[in-house]
């Protein structure tokens, strides 16, 4: 663990969570693990902000949750994307790509 972890960019955690649970329902740690792995361990997601975000998304109707057994037999709360969550993810991804492309252009610009 030599490379320093970075907190997820403010305001993007919700979108990252929605993206992570899109293929299949995941529990809290599963989501953290995916985000950390996929980001090449750049992002760090601590359980406090992750579970808060999950609670918020679930209340907004973007996620559904269910207590289930994991493969190893422990109980965990699994989160799945709802149709509303899917629509939100599509909208936010498009928005994000537009913004990040703009920022990248600005940073890469000469002068």
């Amino acid at each position: 663990m030599t490379n320093p972890n970075t907190d997820v960019i403010q305001g993007t955690l919700d979108m990252l969570i929605l993206r992570t649970v899109r293929p299949e329902p995941l529990h809290g740690y599963g989501i953290t693990q995916r985000i950390e792995e996929r980001s090449g361990n750049v992002f760090k997601v601590n359980p406090g902000s992750l579970l808060t975000a999950l609670k918020r998304l679930e209340r907004a109707g973007l996620l559904d949750s269910e207590w289930r057994r994991t493969d190893s037999g422990r109980r965990a709360k699994f989160y799945a994307l709802t149709p509303a969550g899917h629509r939100r993810l599509v909208a936010e991804s498009a928005d994000w790509q537009r913004r990040s492309a703009a920022v990248a252009r600005l940073l890469g610009a000469e002068g």
Binding site: T32, G61, S72, A76
Partner: protein
């Protein structure tokens, strides 16, 4: 519906905090257990796994608090906690609490009292139909003060003013009623026959005053209010036409006012008689010419207060010997009216001038200063 879900979950968290806490706690524990299992898979011993997870993900208690502190119900919860703390500390210092409660109580009480006293005077409309057309008129003295008006001013305005569909004057009158259980002194007003017409009020019983009797020697007629009718006249439905004795003289009841009637020019008046002044103007030393009358007028439909005020001003500045043949007598007037007149004896140009005002209180003058009301003052 997402909004509904948020309300429901929040309420559940408020009403059953233990259940919600337990679920959050379980989820945090499950999160850490999964993380430790993952470390063990990577080859760590259970102790080492626990240490690494703890190092990486921090205090589970802190995570729990993060989750608990989110959502709208956290704000409500914090508010309730504040209330609890406040009430506890108030209970701990009863003296301070008493002073605070007393101060607040007095403040709220005073504010309520002031508002309830001021509201009917300043804000509520007068309790009459088309009340915004009602105007109170009074004389303005040379020094800018306000004085009751005279019968002559009333007659001149009746003759000359086109702004008012009707005008009325009134003065206090306190007759003694005899012939019932025991003699009683009543609060009342002597008014011109037009008085209730100006206010826009008709009696609930009886025809009201007969205008033809509003002259010296005319028939003695009275209108009574609902309370007097109940208290002293036995709520008699055939009371109209009955004769009662007022100041020892037989007087006919010609009307009973509706229960809702409110007399803003004198709130305690319960009986009204005709003024019966003499318009043939016997001279300045009769009471007709004293400044002792209140006057109300009803503006014509669509006419403005400003228009009425400028008309009054024009009338006051342009005295005309009107048809009833007014000839003022020289010499200072009697019974205190000289207060309103110049002490130069007969010079009435420096006397009182009519002005107009409206709304409550009826006596507050608010028209632009009217110019001198004068009559032919040649001795």
């Amino acid at each position: 519906m997402p909004g509904w879900k948020s309300v429901r979950d929040g309420l559940r968290a408020l009403l059953r905090p233990e259940a919600t806490d337990r679920e959050v706690e379980e989820e945090v524990r499950s999160f850490l257990a999964e993380a430790e299992a993952a470390e063990v898979m990577r080859g760590a011993t259970p102790e080492e796994a626990r240490r690494r997870v703890r190092l990486r993900y921090g205090d589970p208690l802190a995570a729990r608090e993060d989750v608990r502190g989110s959502g709208w119900e956290a704000g409500v919860d914090a508010f309730l906690t504040d209330l609890r703390i406040a009430s506890r500390s108030l209970r701990r210092s009863p003296g301070f609490t008493a002073v605070v409660a007393l101060t607040l109580g007095l403040g709220v009480g005073a504010a309520t009292a002031i508002v309830s006293a001021v509201r009917p005077v300043l804000f509520d409309p007068l309790p009459y139909p088309d009340a915004e057309r009602l105007v109170s008129l009074e004389d303005r003295t040379e020094d800018g003060g306000v004085a009751p008006t005279t019968f002559g001013t009333y007659l001149e305005l009746v003759e000359r003013s086109r702004s008012f569909v009707s005008l009325a004057v009134f003065r206090p009158w306190q007759p003694t009623l005899t012939g019932t259980d025991e003699p009683v002194r009543l609060e009342g007003q002597a008014v011109t026959a037009s008085y209730f017409r100006v206010l826009g009020v008709s009696p609930a019983l009886g025809p009201g005053f007969d205008g033809a009797e509003d002259r010296p020697g005319g028939a003695r007629q009275v209108v009574v209010d609902d309370r007097l009718w109940r208290d002293r006249l036995g709520s008699d439905p055939d009371v109209v036409g009955r004769t009662i004795r007022l100041d020892g003289q037989a007087t006919t009841i010609v009307g009973v006012l509706p229960p809702s009637f409110e007399n803003v020019t004198a709130s305690d008046a319960r009986i009204w008689s005709l003024l019966q002044y003499d318009p043939s103007l016997p001279g300045f030393d009769t009471r007709e010419w004293g400044h002792h009358l209140g006057m109300v007028g009803r503006l014509g439909r669509g006419l403005s207060h400003d228009g009425a005020a400028s008309e009054l001003e024009a009338i006051a500045s342009d005295p005309v010997a009107v048809s009833w043949g007014f000839v003022p007598r020289s010499g200072p007037p009697r019974d205190g009216t000289s207060r309103w007149c110049s002490d130069r004896g007969s010079d009435w140009r420096h006397g009182a001038r009519p002005s107009a005002s409206w709304g409550r209180p009826p006596r507050a003058a608010c028209c632009p200063r009217c110019s001198s009301r004068s009559r032919d003052s040649t001795p």
